[in-house]
Structures are given as C-alpha cells and as structure tokens.
C-alpha cells in the first residue's frame, strides 16, 4: 500500500500540471505577463505562478481596467499587489473611456473597446510575446475549444477553425505572423476545483463572492454587467457545497454571454479574454 500514501490527489495533480505549463511558457517566451482581472480564477493563477517561481513572479501582472469595476476589486488589487510584491501594470483605453464608452451603448462594443482594445494597447506598449490567462474550459462552450497555447494573429483574431495540434504537453511556439500566444494554465480546472483549491491553499479572494442578504456574485467583472445569484453561501465551505448541487451555470449572471447565441464567439474571435 506504499503507493497509496504518496499518490497525488486530484488538486495536487492539477496544480502540478498548471505549474508545468507556466514554466514551459516562461521558458519559451520570456517576455510574458499575466492578466489579472482580480477574480477568483486569475487570482488562483497568480498564486500558481508565484508557486512556480518560488514566491517571486519574474514578470508583470496586467490589469485591464475598464473603469467600471467594483470598488472592492480595486481595493483588493492594491492590497495584494503590495503583499505579493507584484509588478503591476494597469492599462486603460483612456480615449474610449473619456469619450463616454459604456455598457449602455452596446455591450459588444463596450467589451471590445474597454477590454479587447485596451489589451491590444497594453501589448503594443509593452511588447509581450505571451500572456497568461485564467480561463477554464467549463466556463463557456467556446472556451471548451481552447488550446493550452493559443495563438492570436496581428488583428488579434483567434483562428478557431484551424488550431494547431497539441499533444503530450508539447506546445507550439510563436511565429512572426502571430501577435502573441495566450497561455491557459487553468484550462482543465472546473469552478469547483478552483474553490476547493482556494480552500486548501487559503488563497484570498474578493468579498463579493460571499453571500450578503441572500445573494452573492458567482462571477465578478464590471459592475453594470454582472448580477448576483440567490445564495446563502457566505463561506468557502458553503460555496463548495452550493456548487456541488447547483443547476445554474457559472456565467448566468454575465451580460455578454447572453445577448445573442454567438456573442461570446464573436468576442473571442476578436480577441476578447
């Protein structure tokens, strides 16, 4: 029974796989950054990156700030930037923000301007060759089709009809024609895995996830475009219990997934995170 004692459990296995991917991408691209939306997934991603490099991230963290985020998000960002000694880059599409771009105009246009185009601006400015993102396959059907290393072209487009093969942890490298590679270390994690890992590792998360007065945010982002769900889960344990039995999907509170069947496909093809 000796093997039983040492065999890795599911969370340790996920952790090791993610750390392997994180180290692979850093080796290959060097000039990299991690996108941090300050949500539970990208915060878990930062946690794993810190682990991969023994506590000190050797590259910057980028927050694409739409100016519509919750105040709790900004507070959390600043607190942990200091605590974890992060090299934080906050990037905003100032032109669009000052000209009044907002979700009231059109959600597709707003996401494109304040997220996608802001990200383009950040990549242009800093010249990153690869970006780490905390997306997961179980979040959305389109994301289920992603590769671990996923190229974006000059126009930021995702050529989802012609993705490179990916086998045995061997990933593609970047060609001249590609603007950057998106690296997805959490692709194989589920929402439940994330929360179990947050509990196991004691990872801090924004308070918005915990229920107040019978409601909580299951997914956070821009204040005008996410909604609460009915819930009494005010601790991590209760969130884990809730997720084991819920029949509501994670992004049901997100406006951009709903507007039309293919809005998420359009957004992602255009370079949305």
């Amino acid at each position: 029974m000796k093997n039983e004692e040492v065999r890795m459990d599911h969370l340790s296995d996920l952790e090791s796989r993610s750390i392997y991917i994180i180290r692979e991408a850093y080796h290959q691209f060097q000039k990299v950054a991690a996108l941090w939306s300050i949500g539970k997934d990208s915060t878990t991603l930062l946690w794993l990156i810190r682990k991969a490099f023994f506590g000190k991230m050797p590259f910057p963290v980028v927050h694409i700030d739409t100016s519509y985020k919750f105040k709790e998000i900004y507070k959390f960002r600043d607190e942990y930037t200091k605590k974890w000694d992060l090299d934080l880059i906050v990037h905003r599409n100032e032109d669009a923000i000052s000209s009044g771009m907002g979700p009231k105009k059109s959600k597709l246009e707003c996401c494109t301007e304040l997220k996608t185009n802001a990200l383009k601006g950040a990549i242009d400015k800093y010249g990153f060759r690869a970006l780490y993102l905390g997306i997961r396959r179980d979040e959305h059907g389109i994301r289920a089709k992603e590769r671990v290393f996923s190229p974006r072209d000059q126009d930021f487009e995702w050529d989802y009809k012609n993705q490179p093969p990916e086998l045995w942890d061997q990933y593609k490298s970047k060609t001249e024609a590609e603007e950057h590679i998106r690296v997805h270390p959490l692709l194989g994690w589920t929402e439940l895995d994330i929360w179990k890992y947050i509990k196991k590792e004691n990872i801090p998360v924004v308070g918005l996830y915990f229920a107040k007065n019978g409601r909580r945010y299951r997914s956070i982002g821009c204040e005008p475009c996410v909604n609460t769900i009915p819930s009494d889960a005010d601790t991590i344990d209760k969130i884990i219990e809730e997720l084991k039995t819920t029949t509501i999907s994670e992004r049901s509170g997100r406006a951009q997934d709903k507007e039309s069947d293919y809005m998420m496909q359009k957004l992602r093809a255009l370079g949305y995170m």
Binding site: Y20, Y160, P165
Partner: protein, 410 residues
C-alpha cells in the same frame, strides 16, 4: 462521491455516427445540464432541424459547427455519476480534423468508440481505432449506436461487434465492452433498454464507472527531465516534473546524457517542506555538488538508466497538409529535450485508416499517413520505448513553430 477521482475519456468515431448526440444524452441523463443551458440550446435549435432539441449543440458551440452539423474542434465538458466525475472529450469525426481528434485523444485515459449500427465500420472508425492503439490507450469501450434504426436486432449488433473485433485484433487493441445503444432514444446509455433484453452487459455509464484511472508510473525507477534552471536569491534550483518513479533528498542521481553524478540536497516547493516527490509532481531540486544542469537533462538512478542514443526507430503520424520529404532536417521535442534530426529511412508508408502499406522504402510521408522510420540525431538523446514509459517514449516533430507530427518509439 469520492473526492479527487476524475476520469477523462474521449469519444471518437466516424462522422455522423452520433458522438455529439451521445454526449448530449449523457449530460441529459445524469442531470448535468443547467436549465439555462437547456434553454440556450433549445433556442439555438429553433428554426433548424424542425425545432427539436439538438443535443449536438451542447458541445458544438461554434456557429460553423451548428450550421453544418459537424464538430470542427475538440471540446471538453464535465458530468458526474454517483461514482465519480468525468471529463468528456468530444473529438471531431471528419477526416479534415484528425489533428483535433488526436489533440483530444492524447489527453484521455479511456476512449469510447462509436459505430453506427446501420452503416457499420467506416473509414474514420478504423483510423481512430488505429490512433487510439498508437497513443497507447488501453481502455476502450465500443458503443454500437442507432440500434433504433435497425429495430434493435441482435443480429445487427453481433455482425458489427465481430467486424470491429476483427479489425481490433489486427492492431492489438482490445475492447472492454461492446454496448448496443440508441443515443437518441436513451437505450442502454444511463438505463437498461427494455427493447434489447438479449443484451446482458453494462450500460454506457455502468461501463465507464468500471474503468480505472491512469496512474503515473511511480513503480518505475526515477526519470526527471529538467525543464529549466532558476536563480532564486542566490540559489540555483533545477525545476521539472517527475515523469517516473520517486525522488528523495539525499538520493544519488545520474545526470543524462553526460552521466555526471551528484546527490539531491533538497526538494524545493514553495512554502512546503518536502523530502520526497512522486511521478506527476512539478518540483525543484538543489544538488550537493555545483554540477551544471540545464533544460533537457534527465535525472535517473545509476544502473537503471533509460536508453541514451543518437539513433532510434519510431512510428510517426503526419498531421500537416505539407508532406514530409526525407531530405528535410526537422526539429523534434521529447519531454524537455529539443533536437534536430533526420528521418534517414522511411521503411514503410502506411494508410492510417486501412493500414495498407502505400509504399516500402518511401521518401515522403503525407498528411494522415503513418511512417515506420529510422531517426538519426547529432547528439545523444535520452529516451525509452513507448511501451516502457510513455512519457519518455513519445515525441513530436516541429516544423517552423507548429507541431506537425507525433511519434512513438518502437
């Protein structure tokens, strides 16, 4: 449910034999579909297919996939039974997208091969079965679908079962079960069918629950390919994933391919005290002696070395529309080793569906063809046969920046 027991399996088979429908049925029958997902799919199904709920839409999220009724790229989704959680990998059945099928299948612990009861064994049925065999997948369930279209007749099931078995025998693949089902109607998927009382085996869910999880080769001796070397506050830490065996602090290790020896001083993991790590773990190590470690080195135990060689035999499956030419020098990646080499001999060029030999002593390998090759590299590389330790027995060929072929060492 036991925590931490998740099984990944891939569904493969010829186009239109019903992969996406079976997936929809599995979700539906295990209550894994959120009501808003059902609504979304119902809405998307309207105006097409006479408004009936189209199960395939659950996985086929790209507009092109829904409009053409085909799966283009592999997708993954999750469902659970009372026994455990499953990751289901939907692989495309169209010949055009075999590279996506392999991408999906290479991540699986088991496979479900679907065959249309009416049409029987088809081109991609064979190709996919071959690729499963090549990828070393040894847990295979064959489902014979659309039994409703053949009046649930046992004779039809028996015929297809023996056709599949006959083909499997030629490629040394063994099916754990042959299950007659109707994914559309739900027969023998989650619940036993009253219409096929002659069938006594398990349902699809029952058969899945009986499969075993793949475990990393802990019982073999140590293989740790070095992924990178970091300098962290004055310390040099070599990082990597243990691919086989275990490593402990104080252990004497040999550094391949050069063969230098040193002792493991410590096993490093952020904010964790560790003196031992097992196969599958991503760790760092420090050594007693100031040896020069670099990416591509493989740590092992003296006397239990893998093969160190500048020439080896392999089977490669070509996955690019631009054929390989024997004159081409090509990059290869095996674990963390990267090296250029030549395919000095293409002994046979084989059709990956029919397995018929297209040419002996060939000079090219075309898209979706399998080549039995001899490879020559400049400097020695560290490897094993695929049948011994998969992690060090498989490699990819890289042209430009893309993976263009997968290979297994024979």
């Amino acid at each position: 449910m036991e925590d931490g027991n998740t099984l990944k399996f891939v569904i493969v088979g010829h186009i239109d034999h019903g992969k996406s429908t079976l997936i929809g049925r599995l979700f539906f029958d295990t209550n894994s579909l959120p009501p808003d997902k059902i609504e979304e799919v119902k809405k998307a199904s309207k105006g097409r297919m006479g408004g009936e709920m189209e199960f395939a839409f659950l996985m086929d999220h790209l507009r092109e996939e829904r409009e053409q009724g085909i799966t283009i790229d592999t997708a993954q989704a999750f469902f659970k039974t009372p026994k455990r959680e499953y990751v289901i990998i939907d692989a495309p059945g169209h010949v055009e997208f075999v590279k996506n099928m392999i991408t999906g299948a290479s991540q699986a612990e088991a496979a479900l091969l679907i065959v249309d009861a009416k049409e029987g064994v088809a081109e991609q049925t064979k190709r996919h079965a071959n690729l499963l065999s090549m990828l070393g997948l040894n847990q295979v369930i064959v489902v014979i679908n659309k039994m409703d279209a053949v009046d649930y007749k046992q004779g039809r099931y028996d015929k297809i079962r023996s056709d599949v078995k006959e083909f499997f025998d030629t490629i040394a693949l063994k099916a754990d079960y042959y299950i007659p089902i109707s994914a559309l109607k739900g027969d023998n998927v989650a619940t036993r069918s009253d219409l096929m009382k002659w069938y006594e085996g398990p349902t699809v869910l029952g058969s899945l629950d009986s499969l075993a999880n793949r475990v990393s080769p802990e019982d073999k001796s140590l293989l740790l390919p070095v992924q990178d070397v970091y300098k962290i506050s004055g310390k040099r830490i070599a990082v990597g994933r243990v691919e086989a065996g275990t490593i402990e602090s104080g252990m004497e290790v040999k550094i391949l391919p050069e063969g230098e020896k040193t002792k493991v001083k410590s096993i490093e993991k952020f904010q964790e005290e560790k003196d031992k790590a097992v196969a599958g773990e991503s760790i760092g190590i420090m050594t007693e002696d100031p040896v020069f470690l670099q990416r591509g080195n493989v740590l092992c135990v003296e006397g239990k070395e893998p093969t160190i060689t500048d020439g080896f035999q392999a089977n490669v499956i070509w996955l690019s529309k631009e054929a390989f030419d024997i004159k081409e020098r090509i990059m290869m990646r095996l674990a963390t080793q990267e090296f250029a080499g030549n395919l000095i001999k293409i002994k046979r060029r084989i059709d990956s569906s029919s397995l018929s030999v297209l040419e002996e002593d060939a000079s090219t390998i075309g898209n979706l063809e399998i080549g039995e090759v001899e490879i020559q590299v400049k400097a020695p590389v560290v490897l094993t046969k695929f049948n011994n330790i998969q992690e060090l027995g498989r490699f990819v060929l890289v042209r430009g920046n893309d993976v263009v072929a997968g290979g297994i060492i024979t």
